[in-house]
């Protein structure tokens, strides 16, 4: 990919630049973080004119590499104040790569507040146009109109009303293959950054695009075959395997059985209603209700894992895509809700308003802890979500996330790190994921160092979840993940490449094939480590210290049932992660 598109929202101009040599061998997270570090002052306000928002497909996106259609979205995050890379599947990354675009950098800020523009990108160039007719409405209404105007085969990257209102739980939405507004680069409030730039949507039309050049086709094909074979062999990723059959929510019963399924705002580690929101029940309900219901749905082009689903209403018509593990947990168990029709409606509202489902669910859990609703009250949870959609004063408090909500209502039990809500793994019961939450460059983020794989899932050897010496494991996973996020591959290939050595080699050989490099698997880890170190340096310059690399205090004194454990990993272990 040879071009970078720079979009200046102050003077509403666009220009294409050649990719500088220093960015030639990177992509995805490696590229968005490098551009953020090079061009964004670390102390800038995330919603001010000096922040920049960068979109980048991965090195391997649109090359024919399997499951490699992720779009990275990077900049300084309003939710955390840290550097951020959050990525999504969907159609847009593939189309950007086919247009030979390595990144879009959005900078500046329009003088006119509250006005929005749309960026159209195609083989002939890029243009900005007023977006008034597409703002202020739900995305389920807006997306069909955008397809009607720009063609059914375009990719859409957009924000919802939450992003327009600069709420810190606003995500960046990408359309799925059937055109739904359902695949989110959700975390950190990057939708609010897009809103602060006055950018409502990017339309990507790849018709006539040149495609991605591959330097060494033989090396690429060898690597692709190795990785594809590994994905097709591994029990978690193979066709008819766990992910394909049950979706990510297959984890519900496992993590619940492990006593690490955060329940009712992280008060307990086991939810009595877990089986009602499990992957097994999602699968069964899709079959029983029939209609459009399906598991094994593909969220982006070229994915061979296909872990998404389309969840039907009782009459077989569509309720929502997709009931993910994180979403059925945050909007389900964490709110004491055990009904997939309710979690489905809440997920649909998140998609419609443009919200990160993790932050939204944890925020409602905190609100319930504050007494705004009773745990388990799905009707009230839906009403609270509508407050966000309507942009009421309460909606603005909730829309700014779990930490703002906890502070507003005096809730001490606030499950965040660096302002970002924790995902669906209790760190008191699974110590290593807590190390990652505490020390990731992104705030509490399971994807930045998924130690669950060895701790619970038996991938890449086995670790005891209760031991505290997890600094090295978390560091290695954070480095490997940073490289993986750079390739454009979905994180879920990790199961196969951690267990099957030739799969890992295959991923690196694919990169060598595309870029003409001679990287080894050791190089991959080193490159990932360099990315994490660069991100850490940004955060340090933004004012973060080791004191910020900590879990919330309540986890050190509130015992979590059923194991009745506190978080007891010493601070010295946390400090060792990035200072070995």
């Amino acid at each position: 990919m040879s071009k970078i598109l720079r979009v200046n929202m102050t003077d509403l101009t666009t220009k294409f630049e050649d990719v500088p040599e220093k960015y030639r061998l990177t992509g995805g997270r490696g590229l968005t973080s490098a551009i953020t570090c090079a061009e964004v002052p670390p102390t800038c306000h995330p919603l001010g004119p000096n922040n920049k928002l960068t979109f980048a497909p991965g090195i391997l996106t649109a090359t024919g590499a399997p499951t490699a259609g992720r779009l990275s979205v990077g900049g300084k995050a309003p939710l955390t104040g840290t550097i951020k890379e959050t990525n999504a599947g969907g159609m847009a990354a593939d189309k950007l790569a086919r247009l030979d675009i390595k990144a879009i950098i959005v900078e500046g800020q329009p003088k006119e507040k509250g006005k929005f523009w749309l960026l159209k990108v195609d083989k002939d160039g890029a243009q900005l146009m007023p977006a008034d007719e597409w703002t202020g409405k739900g995305l389920y209404e807006t997306y069909p109109k955008l397809f009607a105007k720009f063609g059914k085969d375009v990719g859409i990257i957009s924000i919802g009303v939450a992003g327009e209102r600069l709420m810190a739980m606003a995500g960046v939405c990408v359309n799925d293959p059937e055109g739904r507004p359902s695949r989110y680069a959700g975390r950190g409030g990057m939708g609010a950054v897009m809103g602060s730039k006055g950018l409502k949507a990017i339309i990507v039309d790849d018709k006539g695009g040149s495609g991605v050049a591959i330097a060494n086709k033989d090396a690429f094909n060898t690597g692709r075959k190795k990785l594809t074979d590994a994905l097709r062999e591994h029990a978690i990723t193979k066709p008819g395997g766990t992910l394909n059959t049950y979706g990510t929510a297959a984890l519900v019963n496992v993590i619940n059985e492990a006593g690490a399924f955060p329940t009712r705002n992280f008060r307990e580690g086991r939810f009595e209603g877990a089986s009602k929101i499990s992957g097994e029940t999602i699968n069964e309900t899709c079959k029983k209700r029939g209609g459009v219901g399906m598991t094994g749905h593909r969220c982006s082009p070229g994915c061979i894992i296909q872990c998404s689903n389309v969840y039907p209403k009782p009459d077989g018509t569509e309720l929502v895509s997709c009931q993910e593990y994180e979403s059925v947990w945050s909007l389900g168990a964490d709110c004491g809700i055990d009904d997939l029709d309710v979690t489905g409606e809440l997920i649909r509202l998140c998609n419609d308003y443009g919200l990160d489902t993790i932050e939204a669910g944890v925020t409602i859990g905190v609100a319930m802890d504050a007494g705004l609703a009773k745990f388990g009250d799905g009707k009230k949870a839906i009403e609270l979500m509508h407050e966000i959609g309507k942009g009421t004063p309460l909606g603005h408090i909730l829309g700014n996330g779990a930490e703002v909500t906890a502070r507003t209502f005096g809730v001490v039990r606030c499950p965040t790190v660096k302002g970002q809500a924790m995902p669906a793994y209790e760190p008191r019961a699974i110590k290593g994921i807590g190390v990652t939450y505490a020390t990731s460059t992104m705030g509490a983020d399971h994807t930045s160092g998924y130690t669950i794989a060895p701790e619970i899932l038996g991938v890449s050897g086995k670790l005891d979840p209760f031991t505290v010496e997890k600094a090295e494991v978390s560091r290695n996973f954070q480095y490997a993940t940073a490289f993986l996020d750079t390739t454009g591959h979905c994180l879920f290939i990790a199961f196969a490449i951690l267990d099957i050595a030739s799969g890992f080699e295959g991923m690196v050989e694919e990169c060598n094939g595309v870029l003409g490099t001679n990287w080894t698997t050791d190089d991959a880890t080193r490159i990932g480590g360099d990315i994490v170190k660069m991100e850490r340096a940004f955060n340090e310059a933004a004012g973060f210290t080791k004191v910020d690399d900590r879990l919330p205090e309540f986890m050190k004194y509130e015992k979590l049932p059923p194991h009745n454990v506190v978080y007891d990993v010493p601070d010295a272990v946390l400090d060792k992660v990035h200072n070995p």
Partner: protein, 84 residues
């Protein structure tokens, strides 16, 4: 008794096949029982059992000793686990 929670295709060893409810079977406990012994006593073929075994919520090997009144969770071989 050992309270055994079964998942996926292993639910057939209980009287509940509905995945939205817990599938539980109570198994008599004998001294020195291991997880492997309990699995045998239920009659589950070992090749249908995956690596996800949880004794009182702790990830455990087949050889781990089981005590009376313990809770044991067993996932099948086609339910090796996942993310997000």
């Amino acid at each position: 008794m050992v309270e055994v929670h079964l998942y996926g295709k292993l639910r057939r060893f209980t009287d509940n096949l509905d995945p939205s409810r817990d599938s539980i079977i109570l198994v008599p406990h004998k001294p020195n029982d291991t997880i492997r012994d309990i699995i045998r006593r239920i009659g589950i073929p070992l090749e249908e059992v995956g690596s996800n075994l949880f004794l009182n919520g702790e990830y455990s090997p087949l050889e781990r000793k089981v005590e009376d009144n313990d809770r044991l969770g067993i996932f099948p071989d086609d339910m090796q686990m996942i993310i997000v």
